[in-house]
Symmetry: C2
Subunit: 78 residues, 2 copies
Amino acid sequence: MKTTATFYHAGCPVCVEAEQSVAQALDPQRYNVEIVHLGDQAGRVAEAKAAGVKSVPAIVMNGQTFHINFGAAIEALG
Amino acid sequence: MKTTATFYHAGCPVCVEAEQSVAQALDPQRYNVEIVHLGDQAGRVAEAKAAGVKSVPAIVMNGQTFHINFGAAIEALG
């Protein structure tokens, strides 16, 4: 049986990168990935908060909430 | 052709949760997931830093570095 992984975002550039890389990389055999844009779906903000989402992008899966932060690679080059 | 996704961690509880949930959830048809414990493999710290890893757990995939933070769900209940 598939598990749902819910990816919350707000359209920010970091959100888009994380969605395209992490959320879309999940195994489709095991996960249904639901993408929720909290800017467009304000009615789901309460649900996200209840799941422990403090910032976006975040992914809620297996009963856990993971916040994703993009580390600017260019900083490592300085 | 498969892409390698490298998951850097240091054995912390958050690292273990993220590894078991996020890293292991990636599609095995598309990704080879390499798990690197920086505590045990100190020789790879420089490589991680060069990839933009600033904290663990982090996953480097598709040329991007994503830091993962576990949001304590209990805080949302208060």
